[in-house]
Symmetry: C2
Subunit: 221 residues, 2 copies
DNA sequence: CGGCAATTCAAACCGCGGTTCGATTCAAAT
DNA sequence: ATTTGAATCGAACCGCGGTTTGAATTGCCG
């Protein structure tokens, strides 16, 4: 998923077959950047830290990037792309009832969190430090994801699955706050796995909307 | 509430009557810092920005502070102190039932948000950038606040007010994620006031816990 | 083996921003 | 007036860290 390095040096400008290039080195670097950004925050993270984590000198990183912000964008945009994927998967369930669809969304979203711990936190924290153009790209994806959830909520209200008194905009925000907040306090281990956590969160959210949390089972294919 | 500047220069070391000192200048500066930190994040915020906002040159700020971090601490710790105050107010309601107590907490917490928009976001975002000692001070307050809510939840479960299947630790975290997330998307205005928002959030949370949101009214004195 | 390209090193550059410090201003007190 | 100290200025300092650049490597291909 990680967006390709895009226009890189003489990557194959007009000549060599684009094979044998930077294979997963790019992913290693993005992962390292993700760890460091998560730990220290984007602004406080040093290029040197990231480079050291993949066994390079800081200057060498610039063979792969044009600026520090490239790494932030790769992470933030990549994470949102995974969110879009979840939405597209969810669209396939349109025949199911709203609680089931929303429950599936929660499960899958937490699945993303478990696969990329820290990334969601970065996306929330440091989105604003992207330049306007890139920020717009991310905001667009974010809006589509948000819209997807809000539509389910509104549909649920219309069908009587959810309480009629709730405000779709507010609860949608609440939902994302709950989901994205998870990565900041949950550490999978001892007592709970991500799957068990998802179960609890799903019930909390569905109940919060006024739905019977037992009426819909996990609907992951 | 804003913690006094502590040990300042020759504030009154052994001489003049400690009157006629920096009165609310300190508060002005902290407020300015709050705005800038909220907008740009602590690391990206410049001392110069803060100084300019109160009509000073950046160097002049050091008459009031010893380091940039002093300002972060003033904001983060101050916000948590207000949280502690809410907890202490809430302790007076111990005779009420758990849903009422929790509802009151939600209302008052959102009251803090409305009075200090942005501060909560800073506290969540940049807590980790305080030095260990100060961080510990804040974490202690945070733990006490967290404990207060969790106790209510556990009490509610024991009394049958809340669903027995919920995990107190998880829902407590979920609750704070919902509350603190508010300051990042909610802009009081057109459609909704903070009071109306609090109403929605209170119902969402209480219902999420399995309680009847209508069983308890707002209980603010 | 020789060569070319992909990759990394090593060192310097350089601007930004936190911090320091002596000089200056202003107001109240003497 | 003169003194005194609070408050601010003005300018320099200085280290950190992002970025640049040209010189090594390394490894593949012929």
């Amino acid at each position: 998923m990680a967006v390709a390095p895009e226009r890189r040096r003489p990557i194959g400008e007009g000549g060599r077959p684009p094979g044998t290039l930077r294979p997963e080195r790019w992913n290693e670097i993005v992962d390292a950047a993700g760890d460091v950004f998560d730990e220290k925050g984007y602004a406080a993270a040093r290029i040197e830290d990231i480079a050291a984590r993949v066994g390079l000198l800081k200057g060498s990183l610039y063979y792969y990037i044009d600026s520090k912000e490239d790494l932030l964008f790769a992470i933030v945009d990549g994470n949102h792309s995974r969110g879009i994927a979840v939405v597209e998967q969810g669209a396939a369930l349109e025949s199911a009832d709203p609680p089931t669809r929303l429950g599936a969304f929660v499960d899958r979203w937490i699945g993303i969190l478990s696969a990329n711990p820290g990334y969601a936190a970065i996306a929330e924290r440091d989105l604003r430090r992207l330049d306007p153009e890139r920020q717009a790209i991310v905001m667009d994806k974010r809006a589509r994801i948000h819209r997807f959830v809000r539509d389910i909520v509104e549909d649920g209200i219309a069908r009587g699955c959810f309480d009629a008194g709730i405000d779709p905009g507010i609860v949608t925000n609440n939902l994302f706050d709950v989901l994205n907040g998870i990565s900041q306090w949950f550490h999978p281990a001892r007592p709970l796995t991500y799957e068990q956590l998802a179960e609890h969160v799903r019930r909390f959210v569905l109940r919060g909307l006024g739905a019977d949390p037992d009426a819909s089972g996990t609907a992951l294919p």
